[in-house]
């Protein structure tokens, strides 16, 4: 009596369907490419942008295409300290992706466990948790993240707490909805009659079947976490200057934007937008494919 009673879904069919949408495929390729670029940034980037001995002040604020003291072309120009912008963006992507993924994973775990436990336990506990979640969802995520980030101060872990706090409620709501639907199905009743522990039933039976909608929410939330992180870092309440994410790069380039040195701010922004849009497009496609109501 295991979870194999759920309907079989071949991963092959899923991918075949996915590949029929060129925009989604392009977005998926972009996401993978960005992740590869970010992971292998130290190997790909022409310089280590945060090794101060690499920086030459004479190279500062040069337009894209400038050949610097290092002898290579700065394809995206340099920033106010003579740092190669392309390298800085690759390292920035690393931090932005890391923040988005870690925050998303923690929010996912908390949300999935709390939501499915609430659906399983029911009664006052369920009512209390869902009331709390509803209350929290009535505040905009950016406001919650802003308040928590402002209260906790700058730092990586502080920012992750802020992001998780502003996002876990979406996961709780989704997991609760999916788990409530599973809770009264025969296989769960059967598993409980054996008897198995509640924890085992929740984690081994209810949760796996509630996963598809959670995965969709996760893609959207990772994109929104990256966007939130960039916004908070831009406002100066996110990461400290020692952790230069994309939002930080855009923020430091902002002052040079007004004097026409657009590239310091624009190219990190383009990288950010491409990343967010690509994740969102992939997420939309996955959602459409997992939604039984759209199946013809």
């Amino acid at each position: 009596m295991t979870a194999t009673l759920s309907k079989p879904r071949t991963s092959f069919g899923f991918w075949a369907e996915f590949c029929r949408h060129p925009a989604a495929v392009a977005a998926a390729v972009a996401v993978v490419a960005i992740i590869v670029l970010a992971v292998f940034a130290p190997l790909i980037a022409p310089q280590d942008p945060y090794d101060l001995s690499n920086l030459v002040l004479r190279d500062a604020r040069k337009a894209p295409g400038y050949v610097g003291q290092g002898g290579y072309i700065h394809i995206l120009g340099t920033d106010s300290q003579g740092r190669d912008l392309f390298s800085a963006i690759l390292y920035g992507l690393r931090i932005s992706l890391q923040m988005g993924l870690v925050a998303g994973a923690i929010a996912f775990t908390i949300g999935a466990l709390v939501g499915s436990t609430a659906a399983y336990v029911g009664g006052r506990f369920e009512a209390f948790v869902m009331r709390l979640v509803d209350l929290q969802l009535s505040f905009p995520a950016i406001l919650l993240a802003f308040v928590v980030a402002a209260l906790l101060g700058q730092g990586k872990s502080q920012l992750i707490v802020a992001l998780v706090f502003s996002q876990y409620a979406y996961f709780v709501r989704t997991a609760h909805g999916a788990a409530s639907a599973e809770r009264h199905k025969d296989y769960v009743e059967a598993a409980l009659s054996v008897p198995m522990s509640g924890w085992f039933v929740v984690t081994r039976h209810i949760l796996p079947n509630a996963l598809p909608p959670l995965i969709v929410v996760a893609t959207v939330q990772v994109a929104s976490a990256i966007s939130l992180e960039a916004t908070l870092s831009f406002l100066g309440v996110g990461l400290p200057p020692t952790e230069p994410s994309l939002g930080m790069l855009i923020s430091t380039g902002f002052q040079y934007l007004l004097s026409g040195r657009y590239w310091i701010s624009i190219y990190p922004g383009v990288a950010l937008i491409v990343l967010i849009m690509a994740i969102n497009i992939v997420g939309d496609q996955v959602r459409d494919q997992l939604n039984p109501r759209l199946k013809k």
Partner: protein, 324 residues
């Protein structure tokens, strides 16, 4: 019915109380305002006097009780940095944020609803598809980035728009306003557009999906059968039928627009509440932070309460169900 209203108001007050504790504790944890208040070369005696004057030597719970006591007497404390009552400081910044938020929402509605109705009315035309694609873009591109783009194009490259500030103001009812002077409007344009784009995307999508649904109903079939021309149908029937959810959203979004204004005000150096809170966070101005956060919490709790109560009046099922 009355029991539901009383319970809901009681709940809102409880939430507000919990929020006040969280905010106070949270603000208390960050930084030491003594370093901001007193110059490092002040004598020990002056230090002690200033610390005692602001009550910073008391334990947290005493400071909280003291704060709540003065709050209930309408006193939000004094700003450490501006050395003036916080209530005055907020009152002086509020109009700038309000005019920005209200104009942004009006802009979002006036532009977004017609575009949305069109996209819902002719869902297969290329223009509708373009409108819907742009609305997705408006959703996913961060507000601060759009703000930078607007500055780069209109202020730096074309040089036709100011990049920041509020321009000339004119005083009406004892409050300075920007939207009544030509330079003020000129300065207001970019931040208002920036702030409105996210809301506009939402209005477009709501209006489009509403219109699509309404167009399939019998009302429209009969109106067409009666020979009423399409323009009148759209104006008299479709717009009226989709207006209820739009008006709800309009009200709900005013609160979140004020919250979002933090980003826009920072980019355009707009001297409103959002700029004030960012400045007070960097300068550890505790009373201002607490007051702003309490104000925003109050705003959202009041809006939620109003929406719940309005639904309770409108929807008979809610009156008995207890509003879950």
């Amino acid at each position: 019915m009355i029991a539901f209203i009383v319970r809901r108001i009681w709940q809102a007050m409880l939430v507000m109380l919990v929020m006040s504790m969280l905010v106070f504790l949270g603000v208390f944890v960050i930084g030491n305002p003594v370093d901001v208040l007193i110059s490092p070369d002040a004598t020990q005696e002056i230090r002690q006097r200033v610390i005692a004057q602001y009550g910073l030597d008391l334990p947290v719970w005493q400071q909280y009780l003291h704060f709540m006591n003065s709050l209930l007497h309408g006193d939000l404390g004094r700003s450490f940095v501006y050395n003036m009552p916080v209530s005055e400081l907020i009152a002086s910044r509020l109009p700038a944020t309000m005019e920005l938020a209200v104009i942004a929402i009006l802009l979002a509605s006036v532009v977004g609803i017609p575009l949305g109705v069109y996209a819902g009315y002719k869902p297969d035309s290329w223009l509708s598809k373009a409108i819907m694609a742009l609305s997705i873009l408006g959703f996913s591109v961060p507000t601060f980035w759009i703000g930078l783009m607007l500055i780069m194009v209109f202020a730096v490259q074309l040089g036709i728009m100011p990049a920041g500030g509020r321009g000339e103001t004119v005083t009406l009812f004892g409050v300075p306003w920007s939207f009544l002077t030509p330079t003020g409007l000129h300065h207001l344009a970019l931040p208002a557009i920036n702030l409105s784009l996210f809301k506009m995307s939402m209005m477009i999508r709501l209006a489009a999906s509403g219109t699509r649904e309404v167009m399939l109903t019998d009302t429209i079939k009969f109106a067409r059968a009666a020979g009423i021309d399409e323009h009148t149908i759209l104006r008299k029937h479709v717009l009226r039928l989709i207006s209820i959810p739009l008006v709800t959203v309009f009200g709900l979004e005013l609160g979140s627009t004020i919250a979002f204004a933090v980003v826009t005000e920072t980019i355009y150096s707009w001297p409103g509440l959002g700029k004030l809170i960012i400045d007070s966070i960097t300068s550890l101005d505790r009373p201002v932070m607490v007051a702003y956060l309490m104000l925003v919490s109050l705003l959202f709790i009041t809006i939620n309460l109003a929406v719940d109560l309005a639904y309770a009046v409108l929807d008979p099922r809610m009156r008995k169900g207890g509003g879950k």
